[in-house]
C-alpha cells in the first residue's frame, strides 16, 4: 500500500511536469484559428507552414540572431575576467562585487524592465537595436558570470601559479590561463548566452515597440494579442532545436570521453 502511494505520488509529479509540454505540442497541431485541443479531423501542420513562410517571423529571427551575436561575446568578455578575480581574490570587497554582478538576476524582471524602460527612454534608445542589446546584457551577463565562475572554481590554478613563478605579469598569466585552458568553456558560455538572449521576453517587451522584433516577443504577441497557435508552433520548433543541441552536445561529449579512454588504454 505504501509503495503504491509513493508510486502514485511520483506519477502525479511527473504528469504535472509533462502536461504543459504535451499541451503545447497538441495546441500547435490544431488547424483551427482558436487555441484548443485538435480533433483527428483538425490535426494539421498549418501553423508550422505559416511560421516558416511568414516574413515577419523571418525578420524576428534575423533580429534576434543579431542581438544574440552582439550580446553573448560582450557578456563573455566582461564576465570572464570578473569570474577569474572572484575565484582568485578573497575578501569582502570581491565577494560584495560578485554579489552585485548577479544582482540583476535577483531583481524581479518587471522591476528591471521598468527601470530600463525609463532609462532608455531618457537616452532616446527606446525601441532601438542598441537599447535591446543593453537590456539583454542585463539578463545574459550574470548567467555567463555564474557559469564561468563555477567552471573556473572546479579547475586547478597550477598553470597560472607556474606562469607567475616564471615571471609572467598577473594579467598576462590570467589571460593565458583563461583563454588557453578554458577556450571550450568560453565558447560554451557564449552559446548559452545566445540561448538566453533568444529566450528573453519581458525586458524586450518593455524596451521595444515595433522597430525591433524578436522571436519570443513575436510569439508572445501571437498568443496574447491574436490568440492563435502560431506562438506554440514556434515553441515546438524551439524545443526541437534545443533537443538537437542537447543531443549533439551529449554525443560529442561521449565521443571525446571514448577517445580519451582509448588513448589512456593504448598508452598504458
Amino acid at each position: 500500500m505504501k509503495r503504491f502511494l509513493i508510486n502514485t505520488a511520483i506519477f502525479i509529479a511527473f504528469l504535472f511536469v509533462l502536461t504543459p509540454l504535451i499541451g503545447v505540442v497538441l495546441f500547435s497541431l490544431s488547424s483551427t484559428r482558436a487555441v484548443g485541443f485538435p480533433s483527428l479531423s483538425t490535426l494539421s501542420l498549418r501553423w508550422f507552414v505559416e511560421l516558416m513562410s511568414s516574413p515577419e517571423w523571418a525578420r524576428a529571427l534575423i533580429s534576434s540572431g543579431l542581438i544574440a551575436i552582439v550580446v553573448s561575446p560582450v557578456s563573455v568578455c566582461i564576465a570572464a575576467p570578473a569570474a577569474f578575480v572572484s575565484i582568485r581574490q578573497r575578501g569582502i570587497l570581491v565577494s560584495a562585487l560578485s554579489s552585485l554582478i548577479i544582482s540583476p538576476l535577483v531583481i524581479p524582471p518587471i522591476v528591471l524592465a521598468t527601470g530600463l524602460f525609463l532609462f532608455l527612454d531618457r537616452l532616446s534608445l527606446f525601441d532601438t537595436f542598441l537599447g535591446v542589446v543593453i537590456a539583454h546584457q542585463a539578463a545574459v551577463a550574470p548567467v555567463v558570470f555564474l557559469l564561468l565562475r563555477s567552471r573556473f572554481r572546479a579547475e586547478t590554478m597550477f598553470l597560472y601559479d607556474t606562469a607567475r613563478l616564471l615571471g609572467a605579469s598577473p594579467s598576462r598569466a590570467a589571460t593565458t590561463w583563461i583563454v588557453n585552458s578554458h577556450g571550450g568553456t568560453l565558447v560554451a558560455a557564449a552559446a548559452i548566452g545566445i540561448l538566453f538572449s533568444f529566450n528573453e521576453a519581458i525586458l524586450t517587451i518593455y524596451v521595444t515597440d515595433t522597430n525591433v522584433p524578436t522571436l519570443t516577443k513575436q510569439a508572445f504577441s501571437g498568443i496574447a494579442r491574436d490568440i492563435t497557435p502560431l506562438g506554440f508552433a514556434f515553441l515546438v520548433v524551439w524545443w526541437i532545436v534545443l533537443l538537437s543541441i542537447l543531443l549533439m552536445w551529449v554525443s560529442r561529449f561521449s565521443f571525446i570521453t571514448q577517445h580519451l579512454n582509448k588513448g589512456v588504454t593504448h598508452g598504458g
Binding site: I6, A9, I10, A13, F16, V17, T19, P20, L21, G23, V35, P81, A82, F84, V85, Q89, L93, V94, L97, S98, S99, L100, I101, I102, S103, P104, V106, I107, P108, P109, I110, V111, L112, T114, G115, L116, F117, L118, F119, Q137, A138, A141, P142, P170, S171, R172, A174, N199, E200, A201, I202, T216, F220, A224, G231, F232, L235, W239, L242, L243
Partner: protein, 262 residues
C-alpha cells in the same frame, strides 16, 4: 620594452578586472530604484496617497507574500521525488533532465498561456500557485540536484550493500543531507515568484492581487510612476533581503550539518 628587450604590458591590478561587470550590474540594479526616486518621490514630506485603502494595501502585500511562498513549496514538493528517483535510476535521470532543460530554456510566458488555455475554468489563487510552482520547477530541481551531487556515493553504496532499501536511503541519508538546499531552493523560488507578473495577470484572471501587477497597471494604464516607484522599492527590498537571507541561511545550515555529517 624592459632591459632584456622583452615587451612588457602595463601592470593593471587584476582586481580591477571585476570592475566592468560590477559597474554594469550596478547600473542595472540601481537604475529602477534611482529612476523611481527621481521621477516619483519629489515630495518626501507629503507623499502622494497611493489611491489604495489600508485594507487594500494589506491584502495586496499579504497576497504578494503567501502566493510566492506556496508556489516555491509546490516546486520543491514536485521536484524532490523526481530528483530522488533520478539519483538511483540513470535512464529516468536522462529523461528527467531533458524535460528540465526544455522547461528551463523556455520562456515562462509560454507556460503562463499554456496554463491559461489548458485549464481555463481554474482562475484564482490555486491556479496561480500551480502555474508559478511549475515555472519554478527547474530552479528547485537544480538546487536540490546540486545537494544530491555532494552526497558521497561510498556511503550510499555501503548502505545499499548493508541491505537498506532506496526508500530508507532517501529518508535516513539523502533528505537529511540536502535539507539546507531545500531552504535555499525555497528562498530562491520565493524571490523569483515575487517578480512574476504575467502569472497573476493571465492565470489569476484579475482576481489575484499582486504588487507586480500594480507596477504594470500604474505605469501602463494609470501613467502613475510614483505609485510604480513605491511598489518597485517594496519588491526590490524584499528581493535583496531574500538574497541576503538565502546566502546567510545556506552558510549557517551548511556549516551546522557539515559537523553532523558522517
Amino acid at each position: 620594452m624592459d632591459g632584456d628587450g622583452q615587451v612588457t604590458s602595463p601592470r593593471i591590478p587584476t582586481i580591477l578586472w571585476i570592475a566592468p561587470a560590477a559597474g554594469l550590474a550596478t547600473c542595472y540594479a540601481l537604475a529602477p530604484v534611482l529612476l523611481a526616486l527621481s521621477t516619483g518621490f519629489q515630495n518626501w514630506e507629503h507623499p502622494k496617497p497611493l489611491g489604495l485603502t489600508q485594507v487594500d494595501l494589506a491584502n495586496l502585500i499579504w497576497d504578494s507574500f503567501w502566493i510566492p511562498c506556496l508556489s516555491s513549496l509546490l516546486a520543491i514538493a514536485i521536484t524532490l521525488p523526481l530528483n530522488l528517483i533520478s539519483f538511483f535510476c540513470v535512464p529516468f535521470r536522462k529523461l528527467w533532465f531533458t524535460v528540465l532543460m526544455l522547461v528551463l530554456f523556455t520562456n515562462p510566458i509560454f507556460f503562463v498561456f499554456v496554463w491559461a488555455f489548458l485549464w481555463p475554468w481554474t482562475k484564482g489563487s490555486v491556479a496561480v500557485i500551480c502555474a508559478a510552482g511549475y515555472i519554478l520547477t527547474p530552479l528547485a530541481a537544480l538546487v536540490t540536484e546540486s545537494g544530491l551531487r555532494s552526497v558521497p556515493m561510498t556511503i550510499v553504496n555501503l548502505s545499499r550493500v548493508s541491505g537498506a532499501s532506496p526508500a530508507n536511503v532517501c529518508r535516513d541519508l539523502l533528505i537529511p543531507w540536502i535539507w539546507p538546499q531545500f531552504v535555499v531552493a525555497w528562498l530562491l523560488g520565493f524571490m523569483s515568484a515575487l517578480g512574476f507578473f504575467l502569472v497573476p495577470l493571465y492565470v489569476g484572471g484579475g482576481r489575484v492581487r499582486s504588487a507586480t501587477v500594480w507596477i504594470d497597471r500604474s505605469l501602463n494604464q494609470l501613467g502613475d510612476s510614483e505609485m510604480a516607484g513605491y511598489f518597485i522599492l517594496i519588491i526590490t527590498g524584499l528581493a535583496v533581503l531574500g538574497m541576503l537571507l538565502a546566502g546567510g541561511i545556506h552558510r549557517i545550515l551548511d556549516s551546522s550539518t557539515a559537523e553532523q555529517r558522517p
